[in-house]
């Protein structure tokens, strides 16, 4: 038995012994445990699973033990993921810090930053949020204006961030701020870590057309942040952020595993298709075929990656297609339902009907957030097809 096989056997034994049965069922959005100072558990199994994985260092299995991680190599980490998947183990916690900021700190952080932040992250004690977008810096992130002005050992931060997920629940934020207003756009930006408890930080949840959301606006009014909290060199934050965003796709995949709520279109549609006639049936078939084509493409992409083929081309379409299909799905369901798709709340409508109406509105953001469809099309045209700027 080779070392890796032994490791696999050992991991499986440990998981079987330590992962409670109720933590091996598909997770819903509501059941996700978010780490941080305000971590809360809905039941004892959640707490047990959280603590055992934490103490094993497997919140961050590939980080060095010195930083609180599991110290696993890439092959071992993959084995752990495979075994968790095989047993259906839930993720013990969700944590932007570990998935996105952590790798960047490991690469760019000072020794002091690493020792201050990584172990606490790895123990699930700190919940992080991301402060990139601003009202005037959406698709064009580099036009951000939140200013950080040097004053002794501190930067004084003033401005506004928006679309900060769970900004009202986070302990810390990593953010991009403008430290040199004279420099050209991408230059003059620094990457900084801000304690959300600092005086001058105000958080306001954003109301969406679909109702309340986890997104927040975060206002900075002369917030003092120690200069040592800048990650990487001053004015070199753009490069740090680009690196961080490379981890975003991997992080996002953990969410879809977890199951963002997505209704089975055919099941929901069935009662309405009966009275809808052949034209609606044709549309429904087209929508299901779109989904089918997408999932086959995801499979092909995976096989190409395994075969070490270049996936830049097909990979470039995934965000665009998934977001548009998901949005289109609820468009179709909402309209197929006729007037029964017209209410988000109150009596007189089924739970499916209300959910479809709400998700129809909510998914409008899918084609805007995280690189709007227009930006995706620009990238495909320029980078994949090589069309001139």
């Amino acid at each position: 038995m080779s070392g890796i096989d032994e490791f696999r056997a050992e991991v499986r034994r440990w998981l079987e012994a330590n992962c409670p049965a109720s933590m091996r069922t598909p997770i819903t959005n509501e059941e996700m445990v978010w780490g941080g100072s305000r971590v809360s558990f809905q039941n004892e199994d959640q707490r047990i699973w959280f603590e055992r994985m934490r103490d094993r260092g497997w919140f961050a299995p590939d980080w060095p033990s010195a930083c609180g991680g599991g110290g696993l190599g890439p092959r071992e980490q993959r084995v752990l993921e495979q075994e968790m998947l095989a047993l259906g183990c839930r993720l013990p916690q969700y944590n932007l810090g570990i998935w996105m900021l952590g790798p960047v700190l490991l690469e760019f952080g000072t020794a002091a930053q690493k020792s201050e932040h990584l172990p606490r992250m790895a123990r699930g004690e700190v919940r992080w949020c991301q402060g990139f977008s601003e009202p005037n810096a959406g698709s064009d992130l580099a036009s951000l204006r939140t200013a950080a002005v040097r004053d002794g050992d501190d930067f004084v931060v003033s401005g506004q961030k928006t679309w900060t997920s769970d900004g009202d629940k986070a302990d810390w934020m990593y953010a991009l701020v403008r430290t040199d207003p004279q420099a050209k756009k991408q230059q003059g930006i620094s990457f900084i870590m801000v304690d959300m408890k600092s005086p001058g930080v105000t958080v306001r949840p954003i109301e969406l057309i679909s109702g309340t959301s986890g997104f927040c606006e975060v206002f900075f009014d002369g917030v003092r942040v120690p200069a040592k909290n800048v990650v990487g060199d001053i004015n070199q934050g753009w490069g740090v952020a680009k690196r961080l965003l490379e981890h975003e796709r991997a992080a996002m995949s953990k969410f879809t595993e977890g199951g963002a709520p997505s209704l089975d279109a055919l099941v929901v549609a069935a009662p309405y298709l009966a009275g809808g006639g052949p034209v609606w049936r044709d549309r429904m078939a087209a929508a299901l075929m779109d989904q089918h084509a997408f999932s086959l493409t995801a499979r092909r992409l995976q096989e190409m990656a395994l075969a070490r083929e270049d996936v830049a081309g097909p990979g470039s379409i995934m965000k665009l297609v998934q977001s548009e299909q998901e949005s289109a799905k609820y468009e179709l369901l909402q309209q197929l339902m006729g007037h029964r798709g017209l209410s988000m709340e109150g009596e007189g409508f089924t739970a499916d009907e209300r959910a479809v109406c709400r998700l129809w509105l909510y998914t409008k953001s899918y084609t805007i957030a995280g690189g709007a469809s227009e930006i995706q099309l620009n990238l495909i045209a320029r980078r994949v097809l090589g069309l001139p700027a």
Partner: protein
Amino acid sequence: MTLLLDDEQRMLRDSAQQFLATRSPVSALRALRDRGDERGYDPEIWREMADLGWPAAVLPAEFGGLGVGYKGLGAVFEQVGRTLAATPLLSTVVLAGGLLAEAGSASQRDLWLPKIGAGEALLALAIDEAPRHDPTQVTLRAWREAGHWRLDGQKEFVLDGHVADRLIVVARSADAPGHRNGLSLFLVDPAAAGVQIERTWLVDSRHAARVRLARVQLDDAALIGAPDLAFDALDCVLDRARACVAAELLGVITEAFGRTVSYLKERVQFDVPIGSFQALQHRAARLYVEIELLRSCLAAALEAADAGADGAAALASLAKARASDLGERTLNEAVQMHGGVGVTDVLDIGLFLKRARVLQQAFGDGTFHRDRYASLRGF
């Protein structure tokens, strides 16, 4: 015969625009929603609209009608769409008023039309039962029993049904669902025994009702027109309503489109206004093209409604189909072009999106009306 407004209609439109801008801007709907208004409209504003003559616009002359026709009223509806003004104009005036004027007995007309014209009574039409609009599919039963009528069944999506003084209920008194023949209209007091009204909260912050009638007993005076033969009058009045809904949709569409074009000019990303990006320009231009086409169809539908012309039904379907589809497309594009802020409740675009969807479903969407148009064209 012209697709353009005459001077009187133009004046009516301009005064509506002015009135709505000051008395019922979009913020009024927002306030109605935020206070969870149980009526879904503002009685004070409605009274002022009545003072302007809106509910009397299309009444027969002997009941004080303005004589501006559906072209005039349609121009008002378009303005109503632009500010999302909440009014019972469609249910009370176009639908109920229209049916009473078209098919009502002398005493029904004498009793109700003056009240409608004065804005003193609210009425609603209870027609839809299934999720999708289709008048021939009515199943709510009406039958004679011991010298009375009995009604039994259920209605949904009864616009303004929760505040109506009277409901006009479409019932099947003969033949099977799918037939035009066998439909009858009844004037029903919501307070009558066996009538149960449930308010439903729609996504556009307006309300509709689900109505249950459990063996409700009515006398002959409740019948509007001849029994079993309601379809023609109903279809004609529905076509006027479809044209008016299309007019309101045109208002929703043009306002949202105008706001979007303004945003494209203002919003700077990558150091230029995003409206300078050709891909967005072409999408905006395509919307403009469709708006102009819709405007022509709508004008023709309203003109035909006034003339009682042969082609009125096909034109109503043409206008409603295009308005429904264009409302969907324009508002989706408006949200997307506004980017992140477009999906927030702070902006009004979401309110236009929601209203457009309710109007899309009201009295038939694009699919329904393409089917109907095909039948009317004989294929």
